[in-house]
Amino acid sequence: MQVGGTPILKGLSLAVPQGEVHALMGPNGSGKSTLANTLMGHPDYEVTAGTVTFRGQDILALDTTARARLGLFLAFQYPAEIPGVRVASFLRLAVNARRADEISVMAFHKLLLDKMKMLKMDPKFAQRYLNEGFSGGEKKRNEILQLAVLEPKMAILDETDSGLDIDALRTVADGVNQLRGPSLGVLVITHYQRLLNYIVPDVVHVLLNGRVVRSGGKEVALELEAQGYESLSGAATLSQEA
């Protein structure tokens, strides 16, 4: 997998079963966001070898739209601003995009209000322009709102904790925890262990230099917190030699 000819991810194997929450941790430049964008099908990222299987399909053959309609969701680290487009009208289009028949305006309105209530969001939020002028916390909460409304099968949360103060972090984590369930798989991508205090993962993977060097239970995150990524560099070398 490479960007503009520079290889970023080099042989990475990862499986997130339905109903589980996995965390992917790694330092800056380890390839975390690249992985997230690649999975969602960003046109700038080229996969040179490998397969990505989702719900029994190799999704590398699908474009971003088709992946989304299959049930893949990416909560962006930096969500794009779309001036002039209201959160509610955008979400209604997105809901309709994955349905055969259009949802009625009333039914959509109720759905949106229910989800906003669950996430403790002011209903006025739905009338704002998508991400325009949102604070960091508002942007992330808006991503979680979309996750709640669109009900995907697999959600990738890309650095959802970045730029959040502790209160915003807690609100966002609460939202994710409420959405956890047997039909949703979650991959939480993060640099810091902090978020994992609130969204407790079933499995933690550590990404270094484009490879997963360690997988284990939630204790792996605590080890990292205590010892830093440096301690795993050696392990990476060892496993390569083995």
Binding site: R67, A80, I82, P83, F90, A97
Partner: protein
């Protein structure tokens, strides 16, 4: 008060698509003293108008085609019919309107929702208004809403007082041309203190090949009155160029307010060269809302002359240019008195190699202290081949003023599209959504039916522009 669509019989006629439109009189191609005389005599006009036409013809012949703006060198003035009259007499009621003309209206696809709002319909077919309906309560309020020819006939004293005073016939080559051969358009008069609650709407359409459209509109808003005039244009597509050259003059008196909304969707072979100007007096407000989607070339710069303190002028415009189109749109504000204010918001979209731009002129005359002007122009480029131009001229002859100008050019963002597609939207859907958001500040000012139509047009264009 609700108006049933049956009041106009609009919903009782369904015709086939073909419309043979047999005009009773069609001037020979080209422009001459004889043609102008003939138009005037066909209309049985008073002498002063006949003379005005002939003077205008001389001015037209003297004036050069503008060398700035869009390329107008391919207009063949000798190859245009300047006047076509579809029937001898103006229809008095809907029943009198010929069938084929009704079919033309049908094809315009006036939506059901809109029919309810129709207060009066002035529809221009070929070069003349053939049908006109004025709601009774408007008439009771003293509001006059007629086609320009009838206005001249029935209210000669008002027309003569204002006609050609805002835009003199020598203003520019195309204003001179219109002044010489004008036909149809609307005459609106709103007496002091009367607020017209429902927008007055008119529909225009070019019908005959190589036939010009030279309508002339005059709106007089007396002190404290309010009116919203809406003009929507559609035209069928022909292989050769057509010319649309209108003149719109508006007088907004003390404390009055006028809004003039245009959605222009000419076929892409039409030269759309329109002169629109308003004068606003003490504490008056003039608003131009101008959407330019179609035509081959548009040159249009709605203007407001702010004549007395407290006058306010606004132009909100959208220009959308696709393949082979050049939209040279803009605005002009003249601050001729102290404490006047103006606001210009311009949005242009260029796609498929099209060219859209903003050309603006803000002038503050000496001693016009305390004036405020704010110009915001944003351009959105959909691809590498398309082009956007911004020409913001300022001529400020007074120092005690607050003038702001801001211009942005953005290319439709890959990140924006990726974001929207990651939620399941297709690329054309995502593109249309970004574009509709871009023009939202202006679309939200349109009457609802027009806003819906505008968004639908943008959607269709985006579907066509993406492989």
């Amino acid at each position: 008060m609700a108006v049933k669509s049956t009041d106009f019989g609009l919903d009782t006629y369904k015709f086939g698509f073909h419309d043979d439109g047999k005009p009773v009189y069609k001037s020979p191609k080209g422009l001459s003293r004889q043609v102008v005389e003939e138009i005037s005599s066909q209309k049985d006009e008073p002498d002063w108008i006949r003379q005005f036409r002939l003077d205008s013809l001389r001015l037209f012949e003297k004036k050069a085609v503008p060398a700035w703006g869009a390329d107008l060198s391919t207009i063949d003035f000798g190859n245009i019919h300047y006047y076509v009259r579809p029937q001898d007499r103006q229809a008095r009621s809907w029943d009198d309107v010929p069938k084929d003309i009704k079919a033309t209206f049908d094809k315009l696809g006036i939506p059901e929702s809109e029919r309810k709002f129709l207060a009066g319909v002035g529809a221009q077919y070929d070069s003349e208004v053939v049908y006109h309906s004025l709601r009774e309560d408007l008439a009771k309020q003293g509001v006059i809403f007629l086609d320009m020819d009838s206005g001249l006939r029935e209210h000669p004293e008002i027309v003569r007082e204002y006609f050609g005073t805002v835009i003199p016939n020598g203003d520019n080559k195309f204003a001179a041309l219109n002044s010489a051969v004008w036909s149809g358009g609307s005459f609106v008069y709103v007496p002091a203190g009367v607020k017209v609650e429902i927008p007055l709407q008119a529909y225009f359409r070019i019908n005959a090949e190589n036939m010009g459209q030279f309508e002339r509109t005059l709106i007089v808003v007396e002190p404290g009155a309010y009116v919203h005039y809406v003009e929507g244009c559609t035209a069928p597509i022909y292989a050769t160029s057509s010319l649309h050259s209108a003149v719109v003059e508006i007088i907004v008196k003390e404390g009055a307010r006028c809004r003039y909304t245009t959605i222009q969707n000419w076929s892409t072979d039409v030269y759309n060269l329109v002169t629109k100007r308003a004068v606003a007096y003490r504490d008056a407000t003039m608003e131009w809302i101008d959407g330019n989607l179609g035509s081959k070339v548009t040159m249009k710069y709605p203007s407001v002359y702010l004549m007395e303190p407290g006058a306010h002028g606004e132009v909100l415009s959208i220009a959308c240019a696709g393949k082979g189109q050049h939209q040279d749109a803009g605005a002009k504000m003249v601050h001729a008195a102290p404490h006047t204010s103006s606001l210009i918001t311009s949005k242009s979209i260029s796609r498929g190699g099209g060219r859209a731009g903003y050309r603006g002129y803000v002038q503050v005359l000496p001693d016009a202290v305390g004036c405020k002007s704010n110009v915001q122009c944003d351009a959105l480029l959909m691809d590498e081949e398309s082009r956007s131009d911004t020409y913001p001229y300022m001529d400020i002859e007074e120092s005690d003023v607050a003038i702001q100008h801001e211009a942005t050019v953005s290319k439709i963002g890959e990140q924006q599209l990726f974001y929207l597609m990651s939620r399941g939207l297709t690329q054309p859907q995502a593109t249309a959504l970004v574009v509709s958001g871009f023009i939202e500040p202006i679309v939200k000012e349109l009457p609802m039916e027009y806003a819906v139509e505008m968004n639908r047009l943008i959607e269709l264009q985006m579907e066509g522009s993406i492989g």
